[in-house]
Symmetry: C2
Subunit: 203 residues, 2 copies
């Protein structure tokens, strides 16, 4: 078969479990001859479509979930800092992701994803602050002012909207969310089940 | 130290992920010199306290969740059947659990838990049907009519209510839910994190 085999990965830059998954998904895919196809989305949009809310919006669940974010990061051997604003607005960073994806290609967008996740969960930054996204974009090689222009551009706004609509059409209701050959896996904690599927095929 | 070390485990007989966890938790605890202390509760009560609903009550999440129940059981090498009624009423079975726990001791209650989970998720029975619980109880060595009497007895009704209240006080908002030396782990999928905690201590 000449068709390239992919592993689809949906995420929001404000999702701690997506940050964790972003660190292991490429190596896992590579071991099984697949390429990760990243989809930056807005969880607020998919939550609304699925009539869901963030786990941290429920008083009793919130305390556990914040603890589990940090413990899960330590379990995976990662630096982790709870950001100054949580959850945070990620549309600026997501539009820059789609800009890089559309103009420079997926590899450049993947690099941006790593930077943006690191900014939030290693440095504690707030991507809802456009100046923060600007500074990060300049570090990533964009011109000064370019991130701001991208985020205000109807084309890239629409590209992000399309990505959210496509995610909803696939059934994405949370993040990280993976699909391999039509089989959906939701959550950083589905890594073992995803790995077995890649190794053995359907079970 | 003479104090026995325990691993607390809360569950509802209607919870597929609790059924799965019930099959591995004793071996895990034993490897680390601990005893499993089981707590049969009603998830409907803890959901209400935490302002949560079952994952299957959300339209888009439901489809994924039903698929994940079955796949998670296969991942753990278990027989699995989606029961005729889901979610189902488990107060009769839970009161029999607490009766056995209070009169014959935890080991007998543990055996009942295994039987009740098997009835639901291997045979597809509905424990909301008191006649089904009766038949199961007779198989487990209770006298005919005894399960019905236990479930109608104010003492065992109250014992179950106390168990739910105690769970809420601990912070239980879903099942399976584990606590080891004060550290909470929610979900069958937290097995690896729980295992590491038992092996290495806090991380």
């Amino acid at each position: 078969m000449s068709e390239e085999r992919v592993l689809d990965f949906w995420f929001d830059f404000s999702s701690p479990y997506s940050y964790i998954a972003n660190t292991w998904v490429d190596a896992l895919a590579r071991r099984h001859g697949r390429r990760v196809r990243r989809h930056a989305i807005l969880l607020g949009v998919t939550f609304a479509a699925a009539e869901l809310k963030s786990p941290v919006s429920y008083p009793l669940k919130r305390e556990y979930t914040l603890r589990d974010f940090a413990r899960s990061a330590r379990y995976h051997g990662l630096d982790y800092q709870f950001p100054e604003v949580f959850p945070q607005m990620t549309q600026h960073a997501a539009r820059v992701f789609w800009f890089l994806h559309g103009t420079d290609g997926p590899a450049r967008a993947d690099d941006w994803a790593r930077r943006a996740f690191g900014a939030v969960f290693q440095k504690g930054y707030n991507l809802g602050d456009l100046a923060t996204v600007e500074a990060l974009a300049v570090e990533a090689g964009l011109a000064a002012g370019q991130a701001t222009a991208i985020s205000a551009d109807a084309h890239w706004k629409n590209r992000l909207r399309e990505a959210c609509d496509a995610a909803i059409a696939v059934g994405v209701f949370g993040a990280p969310y993976f699909v391999v050959d039509g089989e959906p896996f939701w959550g950083n904690d589905r890594q073992p089940q995803l790995a077995r599927w890649l190794t053995e095929g359907p079970y």
